[in-house]
Symmetry: C2
Subunit: 361 residues, 2 copies
C-alpha cells in the first residue's frame, strides 16, 4: 500500500508530517553541502551544535518557555523519567501522584522506590474513563511535588485544567505536548517522550524550573542528575542527534501551521468530529466521559470484542492503520496527533458509518 493510501492512527511512534519526512530524506546523504549526513556528525562539531541550539530555541519559542526554565534533550523515554523525577525531586520525602491511567500508575509505582507516594486520586474504579476535578484531589501538606499525566494515551482521557497545588507541578505531556498552549511557568517540570508530536522515538524532552535542580539523591546516576545535565547543556554524553534534528524540522512545520494555537484549533475540530459521530452512533460507544475526553487519543468500542476485531481488520484493509486499542484497555483507539491530516478523520468516520450500517441490528 503506498503512502498516499494510508492513514496511520498509531498511538506512538506515530504519523509525522510528510514535508518533514521529505526534508529529512532530501538532506539524508549530505546536510547542507557539508559532505556528511546528520547521523555522521560529531556532536561536538559546530555544525551539530547549530542544529542543537536552533532546535532548542524553536522549542522555547513554540511553548513560550520562560528563562526560569531549562530545556533538556535526553534519552531513556518517559520510563527513565519515572525514576529520575523522584531521584531528583523527592528528597526521600513524600510526593503526590494523580493516577488516571496506565503510565501515571507506573510512575507512582516506580517512585515508591525513592520515597513515600501519596495517591492524590485514582480513577481505576471506573476504568480510567475520567479526570478527577480539582476538589477531588487529596493533596498532602508535605508533598515535594504533585505528579500527573496530562493525556492518558491508553484510555483516551485528557486533563482540561491545570491543577492548583502548593507543591511544584510535575507533568508527563508525552502525548499532548505541542498540541495546545501551556503556561510553562506554572510547572516545576514538564517532560515528554518525542514519539507522538515531536520526533522519532529515542528523544525525551524535559523542561525544568532551574531552581529545582540540585536536590538529587547521592545514588542518582550522573546522566540522570538534572543539575549535571543542565550544566552540560544535555551533552554529558552523546545525545540522540538524529531525533533532535527531526524535532527541529517538526518545529519548522509546526510554525508554518500556526504553532500551538493553530494546533489547538485543528485538534479540536479533528477530535470533535469523531466524538460527535460517536455520540450519535448506535453501534460505537466512546470510552471516556464527555468532560474528560482526549483530543489526541479517541477510545471507543462496540461492546463486542469480536466485532471490534472485525472493525480493526477491515480498517487496515482500506489503509486505516493501527486502530486497535491498547492491550490493557481493549476496543479501538484512533490517535489524532498533530500530523494527522483532516482527510484521515473523514476517512475514519466514513468507514465507521459503513461498518455501523452493515452491523447495527
Amino acid at each position: 500500500m503506498s503512502r498516499e493510501k494510508v492513514f496511520n492512527f498509531s498511538a506512538g511512534p506515530s504519523v509525522m508530517p510528510l514535508s518533514v519526512l521529505e526534508k529529512a530524506r532530501d538532506e539524508l546523504l549530505d546536510y547542507r553541502s557539508c559532505g556528511m549526513s546528520v547521523m555522521e556528525m560529531s556532536h561536538r562539531s559546530s555544525l551539530f551544535q547549530e542544529i542543537f541550539d536552533s532546535t532548542k530555541e524553536k522549542l522555547k519559542a513554540a511553548l513560550s518557555v520562560p528563562d526560569s526554565h531549562e530545556i533538556l534533550f535526553l534519552q531513556g523515554g518517559a520510563t527513565l523519567q519515572f525514576a529520575a523525577i523522584p531521584m531528583n525531586l523527592m528528597e526521600g520525602g513524600t510526593a503526590d501522584y494523580a493516577v488516571t491511567g496506565n503510565f501515571s500508575s507506573k510512575a507512582a509505582k516506580e517512585a515508591e522506590k525513592y520515597g513515600r507516594v501519596n495517591i492524590a486520586c485514582d480513577s481505576s474504579d471506573t476504568g480510567h474513563d475520567r479526570i478527577p476535578t480539582q476538589s477531588e484531589l487529596k493533596l498532602s501538606d508535605e508533598a515535594k511535588y504533585f505528579y500527573y499525566c496530562a493525556n492518558n494515551t491508553v484510555y483516551g482521557t485528557e486533563w482540561q485544567y491545570v491543577p492548583e497545588t502548593k507543591a511544584p507541578l510535575v507533568c508527563d505531556m508525552s502525548s499532548d505536548i505541542l498540541s495546545r498552549p501551556v503556561d510553562v511557568a506554572k510547572f516545576g517540570l514538564i517532560y515528554a517522550g518525542a514519539q507522538k508530536n515531536m520526533a522519532p522515538a529515542g528523544l525525551t524532552v524535559v523542561i525544568l524550573d532551574k531552581s529545582l535542580a540540585g536536590r538529587e539523591m547521592p545514588i542518582t546516576p550522573s546522566v540522570m542528575s538534572y543539575k549535571t545535565l543542565i550544566k552540560a547543556d544535555s551533552m554529558l554524553n552523546t545525545p540522540p542527534c538524529w531525533c533532535i534534528y527531526m524535532l527541529g524540522l517538526t518545529l519548522d512545520w509546526l510554525e508554518s501551521q500556526g504553532g500551538v494555537v493553530g494546533m489547538e484549533q485543528i485538534k479540536r475540530e479533528r477530535a470533535g468530529r469523531v466524538y460527535a459521530y460517536l455520540d450519535e452512533s448506535r453501534l460505537f460507544k466512546a470510552h471516556a466521559r464527555a468532560d474528560s475526553r482526549s483530543d489526541m487519543n479517541v477510545t471507543f468500542r462496540t461492546g463486542d470484542p469480536e466485532l471490534d476485531a472485525e472493525f480493526v481488520k477491515g480498517a487496515a484493509a482500506r489503509g486505516l492503520l493501527n486502530l486497535k486499542g491498547h492491550k490493557v484497555a481493549g476496543g479501538m483507539r484512533a490517535s489524532l496527533y498533530n500530523a494527522m491530516p483532516m482527510e484521515g478523520v473523514t476517512a475514519l468516520i466514513e468507514y465507521m458509518k459503513e461498518f455501523e450500517t452493515k452491523h447495527h441490528v
Copy 2:
C-alpha cells in the same frame, strides 16, 4: 563541499557506509510499501517487530553470540551503563576497574556510588599511552566483576588481549565492536554505544550472560534492571526504533564485507599504513606505544600545538574532517572505523606527507 570530496575522521558519531545511508534514504518515506516510514511505526506492530527480531538475529550471527547470552537494545549511552553495571552486578560489594583512559576513569568514578571500586591498573602516569599487561593487573579476590574499556577512543589505545580473571569480564566495546572477532562466551557483559561502528547515536547494545541478571539493587530504575529488560525483550518502553533499523542495514553491509573477520583484515591495513608512516615521520609522533595501539583511533601530534592547529585547519580545507584530538588529550586523532574507505587513509597520508615536507626543518 559534496559528499564525494569529504572523508570524515570523527571519533563518533562517525562515518557510515554510503550504501546504508542510500538504503535509508530510499526507504525513508515508505518502508517496503507499507505506507509508513520506519520512524512512524508502532513499536508493537508486527512490521517493526520483524525489523527488531531480524536485527537482533543478524547481530547474534555477526558476533557469534552464544545462547547463554541475551542481546539488549537500549537507550542512554555508555554513560547510563556506567551506573547500570554496578547497580545490577556489584551487589554492594567490590569490583575491579582497569583505568586506561577517559571513559574507564568515568565508569570507575560512577561505580563508587554503588560499592567499593578497586583500581586494577591506572595508566594515567604516562598519559594513558599504553595498555597494562596481564601481570600488571591487581585483581581483588572478592571482585563481583572486572571492568575494562577495550578501545580508548580519546588516547588511541586498544587491548590486544582478553584479560584472564576469576570475576566475570565486563567490557565497554563502544569504539571497536564489530571490528574484530570476539569470543563472547568469555564475557559476563559487553556493551557499546552504537555511534561508532553500528548506527546513529541513541542506541546502546548490551550483550549479557543471562545468569548474571537478577542481582540489581532495590533502588535500580526498572528501565535499568537487566532482569526486567531481558523479560521485556528490550521493550519495557518504546525503543530507539530508527537506530535499530539502521543497525540492521549496517549489519547487512558488514556481512557483504566479510563480517568481523573481513573487518579485522581491513582495519589492520588501514591503521597499519598510518602507523607505518608515523614511525618514519620526522614531524609527527604517534601517542600510543607500539604494543598498545588502537586500529580504530590513531592519535598523533607534532609536539607544537600551533602546528597541530594548522594541520587540522588545512586538513578540513581539503575535506579531511574532524582530525582534531579530544580536548583532554590534545594533538590529532584520525578515527578509522569500519565505514572509513581506504581512499580516506590514502588521502590522509598524502596530506601528512605534504605538511611534513612544508614544515619539517
